[in-house]
Symmetry: C2
Subunit: 525 residues, 2 copies
Amino acid sequence: MTLTGEFFIAGARRGSGERFQAYDPAKGASIDDIGFFSATEQDIADACAAAEDAAIACADLPLERRAAFLDAIAAEIEALGDALLTRACAESGLPLARITGERGRTCGQLRLFAAEVRDGQWLKLRIDHAVPARTPPKPDLRLRMIPLGPVAVFGASNFPLAFSTAGGDTASALAAGCPVVVKGHPAHPGTAELVAGAITKAAADTGMPAGVFSLVTGTGNAIGAALVADPRIQAVGFTGSRSGGEALMKIAANRPQPIPVYAEMSAINPVILLPGALAARSEALAAGYVGSLTMGSGQFCTNPGLVLAIDSPGLDAFLAEAGRLVEAQAPQTMLTAGIHSAYEKGSAALAATPEVKTIARGVHPTGPHEGRAALFSATAADWLARSALQHEVFGAASIVVRCAYRSELLAVLRGLEGQLTATLHMDDADLADARALLPVLERRVGRILANGWPTGVEVTHAINHGGPYPATSDGRTTSVGTLAIDRFLRPVAYQDLPAELLPADLRDASERGVMVRVDGQWQIA
Amino acid sequence: MTLTGEFFIAGARRGSGERFQAYDPAKGASIDDIGFFSATEQDIADACAAAEDAAIACADLPLERRAAFLDAIAAEIEALGDALLTRACAESGLPLARITGERGRTCGQLRLFAAEVRDGQWLKLRIDHAVPARTPPKPDLRLRMIPLGPVAVFGASNFPLAFSTAGGDTASALAAGCPVVVKGHPAHPGTAELVAGAITKAAADTGMPAGVFSLVTGTGNAIGAALVADPRIQAVGFTGSRSGGEALMKIAANRPQPIPVYAEMSAINPVILLPGALAARSEALAAGYVGSLTMGSGQFCTNPGLVLAIDSPGLDAFLAEAGRLVEAQAPQTMLTAGIHSAYEKGSAALAATPEVKTIARGVHPTGPHEGRAALFSATAADWLARSALQHEVFGAASIVVRCAYRSELLAVLRGLEGQLTATLHMDDADLADARALLPVLERRVGRILANGWPTGVEVTHAINHGGPYPATSDGRTTSVGTLAIDRFLRPVAYQDLPAELLPADLRDASERGVMVRVDGQWQIA
């Protein structure tokens, strides 16, 4: 498949006028390419109009068709072969092994949502039969979930496949029956074009309405702002910076009809090293920590940016070993020039903070846009006095906060903003400490781990990738795993409708094969 | 139980300083009473601090305790006996039969949520077992829903029991495990005090933490604004005017940590009279319509404020009969002086609109604050040209919109803002018309009725009382029925936690008796 630099509006390539260039961060140079067009306001309006037309058509299709569409997207992405991998590596600076794994995750995610569509439990079918003899008569009521309508999805730079054009938000929104308009990330326009072509082909092959998917690309914030403001868009999925997410939240809240924004934004993911674990295996903990911290140049939303422990010889040993390992870390290309410079600025600001001690920096970079790991420490008292230390530095930077007492550790946790994850490293002797912390952690985070590392988010049924603000804009939902389909649904009740007008799944004689709550009782029927 | 004029902070009565008087709208005079205190900023902060303390304690209690608390509230409200009924009638102007029925609805609702707590399906338990042999190893993941934290509930004036201090929002938030701080409605402070006393006694008797419930009362907007802005509040439930709901949404969105607002605000609930039904039974339809329109002086969020039909002799007959019936309608006391004057102003504005024809007004009032039913008509063309005609006039006012063609009727529906309900009146001959309208209605409303009337919202499992903006602030949820518990929950995942630390419901050996999704399969275990 040859790149043309065009975007996609409802099944057709489009684009004219000036072009912007794709950029290879590892080479520090534009990719010698044909260049990419930017969508105009008219293009965005056309995409949204087509999505609105498709919304009703999509909602009416059999679920099997919707599932087949998701399966077909996965197959078409795989059919792009090495061309997709090569392009995504060039545009992201990420190594081939990582991008290959990410493609597997992306296609697995699409197929998981195809299976979820077929599962059908998310329809939340409920039937309350009429009781005509009651005073007043009880009506017949039946309920199901329906799609919200067209969804705007913002591709993320740090997962050019798994959280971008055909990533988790697109997969879950399509699974819910919502047409999707993707705002492609300008850091990987070629990757986006390839993937959008795969989705467009899958839509045509499975007979979906053309407006079910569009991709609008371009630089600057105007395209995204216009997309979120379009009255036909009914929800927004976003993964990126806190400032970016908050800007979209403001636009969405100020519309004549405010709409939900699911923004996954900012977290430092505290890791708590409990005394027993620290005494028993400080060096192994340091190795695991530095591995999680520096993987992918630290460019994960679940990166462990904060370590908490009580002062002890074990903590000294942990810090010493972690420092040695960080110093030996080779620099890694970061995703974009902007992310790299923000990382260097953030790390320098931490280093320049009087209360913050620099424990170690990684090997000095030699290539363009290479990030250098950074390990800092601070006392809990200083941390508590400086709320700015909580701000995420996106990349492989982390602070170890030394607590004098258990109560100080608790105070740090209590003062934390919302987080995606919290991790407990513990031995049997730490059980009581861990039990005491759990209720505090539950109030602040979306996922609690024991004796692992927060990077690596399993795409499955029991995962939650979300958390209280500002980890996400809406901690009531997850952006990873099958529960994400709920974000794009809303209930509709049908009262005393003749059977001919009821959705097939809600008729008494239906062969649904899914659970239904009938007169309050859960049953498979 | 003697009224003291005090409010309740975490189990204790409180109040000092100036007092405001309760008002009897039927008499048009203050109720000769001791007067009611207004909560100060400190009182609100104390209520929120106690709620925050209670949040963790509540989440840890066995579900049976939480259910027993809800059951006890219902019993305590019933134990208030006639004193509650008399007081609620005096403060609302609503007749005794209505308030007696509303008490039954309120207590039934509390018991329904107690049963829902015990049902436990809302925990959404999910278990994905580890697969250590996979590369990379798949971790053990388990998920459940937990309470959001303290919830602010705003009592509504139009249901002084069922949507107020111990109403649907309070019941569903408590069922979810969230402490509640109620902003009592100043239109029924005595009713609020009595009910708050019942809740406070029920909390003490069932051993709930005192902060699980507080009531702050007072006039003006400052108390509600301070409550929503308090950092400990994690969600808001509101039923009232669009301007009131939107003001709370703005406060919630501008907090350092934005929080969800569930505001049920504004709807005109279109009723579509299809040609077959209209030809067959125009007079019966008129009788049903005027009954629904004028019940309770039209002060329901599901009041039928808009009727749509295609011009025909049947429509003429419907309008003539509806006009006769409206003219014969006795005036009814409205809830408050403010609601009455807003109703008269809104009705007068409609009457003065050149394109709007006044079909009938009810009998002229003789008592204070009595509302007079109002029936108007307009052509679809004029309706479409004047978007202001869509604005709700809260009370027994309604517009019949005459459409020349099916396409015009469709255009009116397509131009409608979000609604709580839409109603189809239809005969067998209307099936095709109805089927064509359904997808359009589903996009715009939360509940679709056939051959009934939208007033009367069943409290049950398959009900949805919600709808796209501005019917509610968040059409993803319902404020009536058991599904409402979902509004106050969020997911938490536990990764590789030792069994001793897992919530009991998520252990392998658990006797849950509820459905669990284990490795993707739904099972009762």
